[in-house]
């Protein structure tokens, strides 16, 4: 027998900030009221991006008014700041732990568990770690039953299962969320998650239906945009008739750069900023992009686990406003800085995989640049890592793509030849958001689903020879968040966009 359902309406009164904190002294306010005003002040700062000031306010509430009803909320704000903004999961965890220790029955406690789980999940794709994250998320409905955090906890657990590559369980969880909390703000994300799983198990139509569900008029723009991107990818690959090219080039708005050649690498950040590098410089694709880091000998571009641009400058990983990482390996008893690094990619936990234009194979470095050993001896000219931390490594000479898991174990290969395709001159590889692997040839793009049996090949894209978008000497490519493809072609001396 269920308890009477609780529909809790706005338990916390909202206060308008009528005066600043300084005028409090003139008012006869209780400690609770002061704490409340300070808390709201902090939230205002956070909304405006004044994080330092906001942090100050929340810290004051948490430390100076620990007895107030908002002390736990203040700690939660601090925790979320460190996790979402400052990229300091250790501090985020510390605050979350403090909430659970001191305020275990507060309304912030369930959210503290979410922080714990998200921290665990965000930096790993190892199954055992993801399972721990699931267990943490499951504490919320287990302990707190029917609180507002439950749908989000269930969603995050489903995401963890999906990332742990347990699709059936993930699907079941997403379905339960949709069935059980149909008006919760997390629902569009649950639909997206369902779509992702369906796409990964080969049900493209089912996936598209779910992505379209996520485009409800009440969804947030971040969700509707993501869903649109996914829909577009699937449309190109599975709905557009085979005789129609998956991508089209429009001469009117297809060129996105001036004369360029010898493009080594193109990359897009999750925020939509695009960059490319030649042997001499790193250039933004759009004027509005943030300036790239300064480099001497740029060889390639990558994005780190937080989606920030990283320039590979010989053996150094460089970022704007952050310390560079010098990549060196022990050779003959001495640390030798790698040179001629041609490709790099980052795991979720911040480790880097790096390959040089030599026979050293793929080296692994920690987030602080510490050499962790050889990831794989495979000769590699390009690296790409998908959301499961699976690694695709292009061996240009062998014209194959090897697939590894996060530990370096080979789990698959795309051979040079297979049903419906042949890799003649592969120059670059990239994953899209749905896990499709694209291989850039000089004159075409081939699409694979690496684990699909019996054949991983999906379809190929090429422009007709006479088309202004025809590929003749492609050198690098990348995808933006909408799934549009940018290809640098030395013959055209341009980077062109295909959609």
């Amino acid at each position: 027998m269920t308890r009477p359902a609780q529909v809790t309406i706005g338990l916390m009164a909202t206060f308008a900030l009528l005066t600043g904190i300084g005028s409090l002294h003139s008012q006869n306010l209780s400690r609770e009221e002061v704490a409340r005003l300070q808390y709201e002040n902090g939230r205002g700062h956070m909304r405006r991006g004044n994080y330092a000031e906001g942090l100050k306010d929340f810290t004051t509430v948490a430390d100076s008014y620990p007895e107030s009803t908002l002390a736990d909320n203040a700690r939660l704000e601090i925790s979320r700041y460190y996790f979402d903004i400052a990229d300091d999961p250790a501090r985020a965890l510390k605050e979350a732990d403090e909430i659970l220790k001191r305020y275990p029955t507060s309304d912030s406690a369930p959210y503290a568990y979410l922080v714990q789980g998200e921290v665990a999940m965000e930096r790993t794709r190892r199954k055992e770690d993801l399972e721990k994250a699931v267990a943490t998320f499951d504490r919320v409905p287990g302990i707190y039953k029917d609180v507002e955090a439950v749908p989000r906890a269930n969603y995050l657990a489903a995401e963890a299962l999906r990332l742990a590559q347990r699709p059936a369980e993930a699907l079941a969880r997403y379905r339960r969320i949709v069935a059980g909390y149909p008006s919760d703000p997390v629902i569009p994300k649950a639909h997206i998650g369902t779509g992702m799983v369906l796409a990964q198990i080969g049900d493209a139509v089912g996936a598209m239906e779910e992505f379209q569900f996520a485009r409800d008029k009440e969804s947030l723009p971040e969700d509707t945009d993501v869903a649109l991107g996914r829909l577009t990818v699937l449309y190109r690959l599975y709905v557009r008739p085979p005789q129609i090219s998956a991508f089209t080039y429009s001469a009117k708005d297809g060129a996105v750069s001036g004369r360029t050649n010898d493009v080594q690498s193109i990359v897009f950040t999750p925020r939509g900023e695009g960059y490319f590098t030649t042997k001499s410089a790193i250039m933004p694709l759009a004027a509005r992009s943030e300036p790239p880091p300064a480099t001497l000998k740029p060889r390639a571009l990558a994005v780190d686990r937080r989606g920030r641009l990283v320039a590979i400058d010989a053996g150094v990983l460089k970022q704007r406003d952050r310390a560079s990482l010098t990549l060196s390996v022990l050779q003959n008893g001495a640390n030798k800085v790698l040179d001629e690094v041609v490709t790099a990619a980052s795991f979720k936990n911040g480790d880097w995989l790096v390959a040089s234009d030599d026979d050293r194979g793929i080296q692994r470095f920690g987030p602080n640049g510490k050499h962790m050993g050889v990831f794989s001896t495979a000769r590699t000219s390009r690296l790409a890592i998908n959301e499961f931390d699976e690694v695709a490594a292009l061996d240009r000479d062998a014209k194959t793509v090897r697939i590894f898991d996060e530990a370096g174990k080979a789990v698959g290969t795309i051979p040079q030849r297979g049903t419906g395709y042949e890799l003649k001159n592969p120059v670059d590889i990239a994953f899209d958001a749905l896990g499709h692997l694209y291989v850039l040839e000089r004159t075409a793009v081939l699409v694979f689903v690496p684990r699909k049996q019996p054949s991983a090949f999906v379809r190929a894209f090429t422009e007709p020879e006479t088309s202004p978008g025809a590929l003749r000497k492609a050198t690098a490519f990348a995808f933006d968040s909408q799934g549009r493809m940018y290809i640098a072609d030395d013959n055209a001396e341009k980077i062109r966009m295909y959609q």
Partner: protein, 716 residues
């Protein structure tokens, strides 16, 4: 009652007219029953003749004897009559006087002078004001007069102010002129008692043959006030003490009859004139002397009414004003008196309540929109707040909720409704099966008695100003709790929103194809289409009836309202980019309310969906209403009823909400009531329906059913 009858003479042969014909007729008129017996033997027998009638006949006999000059016989008859007649009886008294007169006259003839004088004495003692018959002979008359001089005196009575005087217990009216009253010589009592005057009583000795002047002047001891009002029916108060109510007058249609207020002492009074629906009037009144005073002009009260117009959404709803039924005709309710009133409109579907203070001259149109009404039956206020104040705050705070009316029944209604059933906060919160069953039955009963669609408990929410309101629709076993803060506008607004939320959409438009948005592809891209629809995967719908559409949302907006109609759309082919025209026939398909959504008030939805089911017009409306009613019933623990509704549904199999959906929901119902085998069968059916969805936005019921089967350990 006197009746007319034929005088005796008419029935007898003509002979010498007895001189006393008139007297006989008079006797006959007075004593009709006896004469009727003599007159008409054919008449129906009457009641036995009273004694006076017998005596009257003796008198008549005496008269005959007297007329026939048989004086001894006359004397004998008269004597017998005199013996029998009762002087104390007013009717017989006159007869007695007559008998004395005629016996005296008869005695005079037989030279019995003593007897004559004695008879006249007795006569005058009986009737001092007696006037003998006109035909009395002068000599007899002289004897009469002599006797009178010895027996009768007079009182000359004056009374100031004129009025009623009581002489020896008999009341006489004394006007402005003296009243000369013959009385038997001796002592007499003269008294005057009149309201507003001091009573007077005097003993007067009257000497025979003399006239004693008696002048009585009454002393006024209080004042009298006389007032008329317009209209009548006005209550008059003096210093707050009611003195009477004016009644309808006869001389002027709009003015009352005079109201006489007596026994007023001297002094200053505040007079108040009041009548319902009129503005009361107060005036000072000074009484300086004991006298009658009268207002020349009537006191006029001004009507104090407000004009109300009821705009009824339901013509058959019953209107109550202050608890009194006024029928269903809104035109009958046009005015309300100034003051606090409750206008209450009720129907089985809901209620409208307006409770306010009406001022004179207010003109208001009330749009009577009935809402499902929930009666407050349990009221547990916080400390320091009265129950009345608490419920007023809650009522006022939630007055804006369009989806439900929270109201307080009168004390009498509540006591009558609750009497056989014990209702407390625990009634609403018990979690056992027995408690749920009791809620379902008792709640239904109590709500019906109160003319409401549900019942409510309001309790303090533990924090200051916090309210915990538990709602239970009639027949529901699962109440829902709303908590809100009385002093927080946002919190109250959220509560109102929760009570106002419309029934979620239960019918949606379908074009039997899955269409999606694709970046850089203006239009709605077809991903899946039913055979025969004219669409194939990859097609892009680019316009509807000549108006371009760039997204799925625009497409559905253009098709909105066109269900059942053939709508031409332009489709760009996936293959070659050529366009063609296709006719789409959008149709309405059922969608489902979530089984558990914390933002929905299922107790309110129960009532509205039940009503929607009653009012459905098309089969798809009925299907959607019944399906969703079943879901709400499931949510509220009425599994049996839910199963009953689901079993009546016949949905085709296919994508969306379809047969598989119903099968899955039935499985849940059967599970809840312990029908394991039926549950497994239903889940099995649902698991085979690959495209069925729990709602049009998923999830697929096949997967949900398979989970259930796995839990049950049953094979898929």
């Amino acid at each position: 009652m006197l009746k007319k009858f034929a005088c005796i003479n008419d029935a007898r042969p003509r002979r010498r007219q007895p001189r006393h014909l008139g007297l006989l007729c008079a006797f006959g008129l007075a004593f009709q029953p006896s004469l009727a017996l003599a007159q008409a033997p054919s008449q129906a027998p009457t009641a036995p003749a009273p004694a006076v009638n017998i005596n009257a006949s003796l008198l008549i006999d005496g008269m005959r004897f007297y007329d026939a000059a048989r004086y001894p016989d006359a004397i004998t008859s008269f004597s017998r009559a005199i013996d029998l007649l009762n002087a104390g009886d007013p009717q017989q008294r006159d007869l007695l006087a007559r008998a004395y007169e005629y016996r005296a006259r008869a005695r005079y003839v037989v030279k019995d002078t003593v007897g004559t004088e004695l008879d006249f004495t007795l006569l005058l003692r009986l009737r001092p004001d007696y006037q003998p018959a006109a035909e009395m002979s002068p000599r007899v008359l002289a004897t009469f007069v002599d006797v009178k001089k010895k027996v009768v005196g007079e009182m000359s009575l004056r009374l100031s102010p004129p009025g009623e005087l009581i002489v020896d217990g008999v009341s006489y009216t004394v006007g402005s002129e003296p009243l000369i009253m013959p009385v038997v010589a001796g002592e007499h009592t003269v008294a005057a008692k009149r309201r507003a005057y001091a009573p007077v009583e005097q003993k007067i000795l009257v000497v025979a043959g003399e006239t004693v002047p008696v002048a009585i002047t009454l002393e006024r001891t209080s004042a009298t006030f006389i007032v008329r009002t317009a209209p009548e029916g006005v209550e008059v108060l003096f210093d707050g003490v009611p003195k009477g109510v004016t009644v309808k007058g006869t001389d002027r249609p709009d003015v009352s009859a005079p109201l006489v207020i007596q026994d007023l002492a001297k002094g200053t009074y505040v007079t108040r004139y009041q009548r319902e629906c009129y503005r009361p009037l107060e005036r000072p009144l000074e009484i300086t002397q004991f006298a009658d005073s009268e207002l020349l002009e009537p006191i006029r009260l001004d009507p104090s009414v407000a004009k109300v117009t009821l705009r009824m959404s339901e013509p058959n709803a019953t209107i109550y004003v202050d608890g009194v039924s006024k029928g269903s005709n809104a035109a009958e309710v046009t005015n309300v008196c100034e003051g606090e009133h409750l206008i209450d409109v009720r129907s089985p579907r809901g209620r409208f309540i307006d409770r306010r203070f009406w001022r004179t001259g207010d003109v208001e149109t009330l749009n009577v929109v009935l809402r499902p009404a929930f009666a407050i039956v349990v009221n547990v206020p916080p400390a320091g707040v009265s129950a009345t104040e608490f419920r007023n705050l809650v009522e006022r705070g939630l007055a804006g909720a369009r989806g439900a009316l929270i109201f307080t029944p009168t004390e009498e209604e509540l006591n009558a409704a609750r009497r056989p059933d014990e209702l407390s906060a625990e009634f609403f919160h018990g979690t056992s099966t027995a408690a749920a069953l009791r809620r379902s039955e008792t709640g239904d009963r109590v709500a019906a008695r109160l003319g409401a669609q549900g019942i409510v408990a309001i309790e303090s929410g533990g924090r200051p100003d916090s309210v915990q309101m538990t709602l239970l629709a009639a027949g529901s076993s699962e109440p829902e709790v709303l908590t809100f803060d009385l002093n927080d506008q946002t919190s109250r607004a959220n509560a109102v929103t929760a009570l106002t939320t419309d029934v979620p959409t239960i019918l949606r438009l379908s074009i039997d194809a899955l269409v999606v948005d694709v970046a850089s592809v203006p239009g709605a891209v077809v991903v899946r289409a039913t055979q025969g629809s004219g669409l194939v995967p990859g097609d892009v719908i680019v316009d509807v009836a000549g108006t371009s559409v760039t997204s799925v949302a625009e497409l559905m907006a253009r098709l909105n309202g066109q269900q059942g109609q053939s709508v031409p759309v332009t489709v760009r082919s996936a293959a070659g980019g050529a366009t063609r025209s296709v006719s789409l026939v959008p149709r309405l398909v059922p969608d489902t309310i979530p089984l558990a959504d914390r933002h929905l008030l299922y107790n309110g939805l129960l009532l509205r969906l039940a009503e929607a089911l009653r009012e459905t017009r098309t089969p798809v409306d009925a299907t959607a209403a019944r399906l969703n009613l079943a879901i709400v019933q499931m949510r509220l623990g009425r599994w049996g009823e839910a199963a009953g509704n689901l079993e009546q549904l016949r949905l085709p199999d296919g994508p969306g909400v379809s047969a598989g959906t119903v099968a899955y929901l039935l499985g849940l119902c059967y599970d809840a009531v312990g029908r394991r085998a039926d549950a497994v069968a239903s889940y099995t059916t649902a698991s085979k329906s690959a495209d069925s969805m729990l709602s049009l936005k998923g999830p697929r019921t096949a997967a949900l059913a398979q989970e259930k089967l796995q839990l049950a350990g049953a094979p898929r």
